[in-house]
């Protein structure tokens, strides 16, 4: 995403007879763009947490946060100030460096993945050739924040929570990987913007990849430790799991990064299955062009829709038992998605006219 702030700098420098070198201009634009993106993500996360709590509350016939600001909109900012001004308590027996490094790592990783998310056609910091692998790699690193936090706390519950979390995230990464492979096989490219463009004709959620959409959604819930798979922080058994010993800012970083990665998973679902910034299927870009709606609105609406689903699942699905969780991951999702990988490859080879298949990718 390029915001030409450097033009402004150039304008003011022009009074003194200077001009920015192109490298400097690029540097300024990129750095400021990153700040703007981070700010937007963090502020929207604040409102999404509020929305999440509101949805949860209305399912349970409560009001939810409604005191701070109109309709409780400023609740999360009040929480933020409260977290930030409290004392950071580090347990005496904790491994101090690792203890404080873990939330920082989570936060950095949560943000780093956003660098390759194409919000619209050209709004992306780095449209990597291997964008989807990058996201997969970054999200597979997320488990370290949790393991390190749980281990460094040097306490029973955090440790058990982090072990659970590590096993869970590694298990569900396998099925997420296979789901990604089915989409990549169909598109024939690892580039995220190519994946979106390939859905011009039909969104992948409405093709034979629909079961993979479901698998991806459920795996994303497990991967981000959301209910019904929030066993790492199951409060009846483990107090708060790996976060038990954390307080104030480090805790806030854990919480924020958790929500950032949830929104990232929503964005990934949107890009892989719901056509990213494209207007709704079955109308297509051509038919919808009379509506003066910028593509980013579609993207945000779809992300919000997926987030709404996340919140609803949290509201009315009871928590899984740990062995059921592992059974679902290894004995159901893994074989099922593996079969679907083979099926997708077969469809790409034998039915190149099937909807959504990008043609001409199979060589002689």
């Amino acid at each position: 995403m390029q915001i030409p702030i450097s033009a402004l700098f150039d304008f003011f420098l022009g009074f003194f007879g200077y001009k920015l070198a192109s490298g400097t201009a690029y540097f300024i634009d990129t750095t400021l763009g990153i700040f703007v993106m981070m700010l937007v993500i963090l502020v929207s996360v604040a409102f999404l947490v509020l929305w999440d709590r509101k949805i949860w509350a209305s399912v349970q016939l409560r009001k939810g946060p409604n005191v701070v600001g109109p309709f409780g909109t400023l609740q999360l900012f009040a929480d933020f100030i409260k977290f930030a001004v409290k004392e950071v308590v580090v347990p005496a027996s904790a491994d101090k460096f690792v203890f404080l490094f873990a939330p920082l790592l989570m936060f950095v990783l949560g943000m780093a993945a956003w660098a390759v998310i194409p919000v619209t056609e050209n709004w992306v910091f780095a449209d990597l050739n291997i964008g989807i692998l990058y996201i997969f790699a970054i999200s597979s690193l997320g488990v370290y924040g949790i393991i390190m936090g749980g281990w460094a706390s040097n306490s029973k519950y955090p440790f058990l929570g982090s072990l659970r979390s590590a096993a869970q995230m590694v298990s569900y990464e396998v099925s997420i990987g296979f789901v990604i492979i089915t989409v990549v096989v169909t598109v024939g490219s690892l580039k995220l913007s190519d994946i979106v463009r390939a859905q011009e004709e039909v969104w992948y959620a409405f093709t034979w990849l629909f079961p993979m959409f479901i698998v991806f959604f459920i795996s994303a819930l497990a991967e981000t430790n959301r209910p019904p798979f929030d066993l790492p922080e199951a409060e009846p058994e483990l107090v708060a799991g790996y976060q038990s010993e954390y307080s104030s800012t480090p805790y806030m970083m854990f919480m924020m990064s958790e929500y950032v990665s949830i929104v990232l998973m929503c964005a990934m679902t949107t890009i892989l299955f719901l056509g990213g910034w494209l207007p709704p299927w079955p109308f297509g870009t051509e038919a919808m062009s009379w509506l003066p709606i910028p593509p980013i609105v579609w993207f945000v609406l779809k992300v919000l829709f997926v987030f709404f689903m996340f919140a609803m699942v949290k509201a009315f699905v009871p928590r899984y038992r740990y062995d059921q969780l592992m059974r679902l991951g290894w004995k159901i999702f893994l074989p099922f998605s593996l079969v679907w990988v083979a099926l997708s490859a077969a469809i790409v080879v034998y039915f190149p006219d099937a909807p959504g298949v990008i043609q001409g990718q199979v060589g002689p």
Binding site: N129, A137, Y144, I147, W151, L163, V170, E173
Partner: protein
């Protein structure tokens, strides 16, 4: 270019530093964490070389999966550090032998020593330049088209190894109660509920 050089020296310095700390840390968990740091920076070096696919696979496979298992095991260990240090001299000759073999091999590679150039020459496929073919596609071409049989053979060997490990360690333990979902679901009212008339004072 200067930026690339800075990045290269940064990554390399961190890789070497982290690799040294892997073997010198007192705490094995710290060792594994430094190992992860080393992997990660090695991935950075791959990116600098233009091999971004390899870099990502390194992160996904080694950092995301293998090192997690390492960390898992190491965290669960209850290690007595004094006892750990005692065996050091005993294992040192073996370590020196292995280390020197690796060192000699590295010198051969770096010195570009070729024993029989006529053997190695025709084995190599011509590699198209980076600008013509993305390295993901190039890897796919080599693995799944040019050397597909070797790849399949390697896969079969790994599969056999995996099945072997499972067969060797799998044993059915007595007295473990497992959930049988089909039985639970297949239960009917007739076998689950019983109406009993109990007269006061008699019991069942």
């Amino acid at each position: 270019m200067a930026l690339q050089a800075i990045a290269f020296y940064l990554f390399s310095a961190i890789v070497i530093g982290a690799a040294f700390l892997v073997i010198s840390s007192r705490n094995p968990v710290h060792s594994v964490l430094f190992l992860i740091l080393a992997f990660f920076n090695a991935a950075g070096l791959f990116v600098l070389l233009g091999a971004e696919f390899l870099a990502m696979i390194l992160v996904v496979v080694y950092v995301g999966a293998v090192a997690v298992l390492f960390l898992f095991v190491v965290m669960m260990l209850d290690i007595d550090f004094v006892e750990l240090r005692q065996g050091f001299l005993q294992y040192m000759p073996m370590g020196v032998v292995i280390g020197s073999i690796v060192l000699v091999e590295l010198i051969f590679v770096l010195g570009a020593v070729t024993v029989a150039p006529e053997i190695s020459a025709p084995a190599a496929f011509p590699v198209p330049p980076v600008s013509e073919q993305a390295n993901t596609a190039a890897l796919g071409q080599i693995l799944y088209t040019d050397y597909v049989y070797f790849f399949q053979a390697a896969g079969m060997i790994l599969l056999v190894a995996m099945i072997g490990a499972i067969v060797l360690t799998l044993r059915t333990r007595e007295g473990v109660r497992r959930q049988k979902i089909s039985e639970q679901v297949g239960r009917r009212r007739a076998e689950g509920v019983e109406l009993v008339k109990v007269r006061p004072g008699d019991g069942i």
